[in-house]
Assembly symmetry: C2
Homo-oligomer: 351 residues x 2
C-alpha cells in the first residue's frame, strides 16, 4: 500500500442487508483480500451469509451485537448495522461500503482501488481554509495555484473521505422516482476538500475515516419512524455526516469528497418508496439553520466531547419540533457511552 | 447558443500583451466568430496588432484608454488592460481570456467551447449554501444527492465563472521554478459552486462573469511595485477575486469553478522570475485574516457599494502595513467612479 501505512491499520466494514455476498466479495477480491474485513449482518436478516473462501473476515450477527451492547442493540437495525463494525474495530482507518457496491472503472478502464484511494485521501493533508481550484493539491500532477496562501499550504489532517457512485447515484426517493432512468456515467477525476463551514450531505454508501479522530462522530442516531431497507429511505448517515462535518470544522480536521467511485447496482422501486411519507426530506429542511449555527466549547477537543455537547444542543433547539430529534440526541449520548465502554473492553472479538 | 441567451449579450475580452494574434484567433474561430470581441492592447505594446479577417472586433489602444479615462489610464498597464474591456463593454456577460490561451480538448477529444460552458455556468443557478457531492446539480446527467435540502435546491444566481487550464497551469513563480516540468494533464469533468464563506484564488486567465451584477467588483486595483509581464508575477486578479468572492457572498450570488479548460502555452522563464522579490506571495499572506473578517453593511445591495465599503476597510485595516494596500483602496474607489462615469457615457465606442 502506498502512503506508508500498513495493511493491518485498515478495517473494511460491510453492512450486509442481503445474505449472498459471493459476487460482492469475488468482485472486490483483488482489492480487499489483503485486509481484515468486518461484516455486520442486519439484525433482521434471517438467512445465513454466503461468503466465498479466501478472505480474512469476521462476521457479526444479532447475537454478537446483543452480547456486546446489550439493550442498545436496537440502534443497529438496517443500514445502521455498519456502525457496530465501526464500534468494534480496533484499526486506525475504516473503509466502509454497502453490499450493493461493486468495483467501478476509471476513465482509463482500470478497476478503482477504493482502499488505496480512500487511504490516500486520509493520509495526505486536507485544505479546508482556502479552496484550491485545481482540487486536491497533494495528488500527483496537481499543486497549489497562484494566489494560494503559503501559510495554508501545509493543510490539516484529513479525517473523513467521502467517495461517490457510478451508475446508480445516491439520490433521494423523489429524485429517483422523477428520473427513474437517470444513471450517473460521469467519472470526475477529482478529490477536493470541502471547505470549512460549508455543509454537505455525507452518504454512508462509500466512505472512509480515521477512526481514532472521528469515529465517535459517525453514529446511527437518527432513525425515521417509517424507515425502510432502501438507502433512499434513510437519512441516518446524512445526519451523522452533518454532525461529523461541523465537528471536523471545530477540531480543525478536513473532510474530502470525490474519488473513489464505486459502481452501484439497482435495487428497489423508487415509486413504491414514494408512497411512504417523505419524513426524512421534511426533517432535513429544519436542521439546516441549526447546523449553520452550532458552535462548540473551546474545551471540547475530542470528537466524543463534541458529540455530547451537540446532543445537548439538538435536544434544546430541535427537540420541541419533533420527537425524532430528542431520540437522536439520546442516541448520540448513548453512542459515546458505548464507544468508551467498548473501546476499553476486552469482550470484543479481535479480527 | 444553449441556455437561451442571445449571441449579442456576450462580449469576449482579450488582453493583448503580444502583437500577433493570428494563431490565437484562428484557433478560436469556431468558438468566437459569432461574438463581438473586445481586444485591449497593453499600453506598453508598441507594435501594431495582427488580427485575421472574419471577426467582429473592436480594438482599444493606449490612446483610446487615455481618451476615455484620462489620468486614470495608468491602472490599465500589462494584464490590467483587460479591465478596460470590462469597463467599456455594454453586454450582460463577459468572457475573458489571456492571449496565451488556446482551445483545449475534453476527454472525448472534442474542442472545448468556452463561451458555451461559461454561459452555461452563469445562466444556471449556483448553490453556495450547501455543497453537492455530485458537483453542479444543473449539469446534464447530474442532480442533487440524497440529503440535499429541498429548500436550497433553487439555488441563487451565478455571477462569476472561473475556468481552468491544461498544460501550463496557473502556478506562482516559486512553484513553476521548483516544478519546471510539471504540466497539468488532468481534465476534470466538473463544475462546482465554491461554497459561501470559502476563500479562493481567482485567476484572470480564463474567466467569465455577469457584468451587470459583479462588473464593478472586477478591477485592476492591486499592483505590485515590481510587477512583470508574466502571469506569475502579478496578483491583481487574485486580489480582485478575493474581493469579488466576499462581495458575492454578501449579495447572495454564486461563484463557480471548474470547466471550461483552456490550453495554455509556455512563456517566460520561471527561474528568472524567482530573482524578483516574491512581493505578491508575501502580501497575500497578510490579507487572509482580513478577507475572513470582512463584513458589509446590509444597506450595500450593489457590487459598487460593496467595493467602496471594502476600500475603506482595506485602507483602515491594511493600509499601515504596506502602502500597496492604500494604493489598492484608492484604485478601488477610482474604479467605481470610472464604472459609473463610463457606464453612463456616450463617449464609449460601441461594438
Amino acid at each position: 500500500m502506498s502512503h506508508s501505512i500498513k495493511d493491518d491499520e485498515v478495517d473494511i466494514v460491510i453492512a450486509a442487508l442481503h445474505s449472498d455476498l459471493t459476487s460482492l466479495l469475488n468482485e472486490w477480491r483483488p482489492v480487499f483480500s489483503r485486509f481484515h474485513i468486518i461484516i455486520v449482518m442486519d439484525p433482521d436478516l434471517k438467512e445465513d451469509l454466503e461468503i466465498p473462501e479466501g478472505f480474512n473476515v469476521d462476521v457479526f450477527t444479532k447475537s454478537d451485537i446483543d452480547r456486546v451492547v446489550g439493550s442498545s442493540s436496537t440502534i443497529f437495525s438496517g443500514y445502521s448495522c455498519r456502525y457496530f463494525g465501526f464500534l468494534v474495530s480496533r484499526k486506525k482507518y475504516i473503509v466502509s461500503i454497502d453490499d450493493d457496491c461493486m468495483p467501478a472503472k476509471d476513465n482509463q478502464g482500470f478497476i478503482v482501488d477504493i482502499v488505496a484511494q480512500h487511504i490516500a485521501n486520509l493520509t495526505t493533508p486536507a485544505t479546508p481554509f482556502f479552496f484550491n481550484t485545481l482540487y486536491d493539491p497533494f495528488r500527483k500532477g496537481a499543486d497549489f495555484v497562484r494566489g494560494y496562501p503559503f501559510s495554508l499550504r501545509t493543510g490539516v489532517t484529513c479525517a473523513l473521505s467521502c467517495g461517490l457512485w457510478l451508475n446508480l447515484a445516491d439520490y433521494d426517493a423523489p429524485t429517483q422516482a422523477l428520473k427513474g432512468g437517470q444513471r450517473n456515467s460521469r467519472y470526475v477525476d477529482a478529490v477536493l476538500t470541502v471547505p470549512a463551514r460549508a455543509m454537505m450531505p455525507v452518504s454512508g454508501i462509500n466512505i472512509a475515516f480515521n477512526r481514532e479522530l472521528v469515529g465517535p462522530a459517525l453514529f446511527p442516531a437518527f432513525r425515521l419512524a417509517k424507515e425502510g431497507k432502501l438507502r433512499w429511505e434513510t437519512v441516518e448517515d446524512i445526519w451523522s455526516g452533518m454532525c461529523a462535518k461541523v465537528i471536523c470544522d471545530h477540531l480543525g480536521l478536513g473532510v474530502k469528497s470525490g474519488l473513489p467511485y464505486v459502481w452501484r447496482t439497482e435495487r428497489g422501486n423508487a415509486i413504491d418508496s414514494l408512497k411512504k411519507e417523505w419524513e426524512g426530506v421534511k426533517l432535513m429542511e429544519e436542521v439546516v439553520p441549526f447546523f449553520e449555527s452550532v458552535r462548540f466549547n473551546r474545551a471540547s477537543v475530542k470528537a466524543e466531547d463534541c458529540v455530547v455537547e451537540m446532543a445537548k444542543q439538538v435536544k434544546e433547539q430541535l427537540g420541541q419540533s419533533d420527537p425524532v430529534f430528542t431520540r437522536a440526541a439520546d442516541a448520540m449520548v448513548e453512542w459515546v457511552r458505548l464507544w468508551k465502554a467498548v473501546g476499553t473492553s476486552s469482550a470484543v472479538p479481535e479480527g
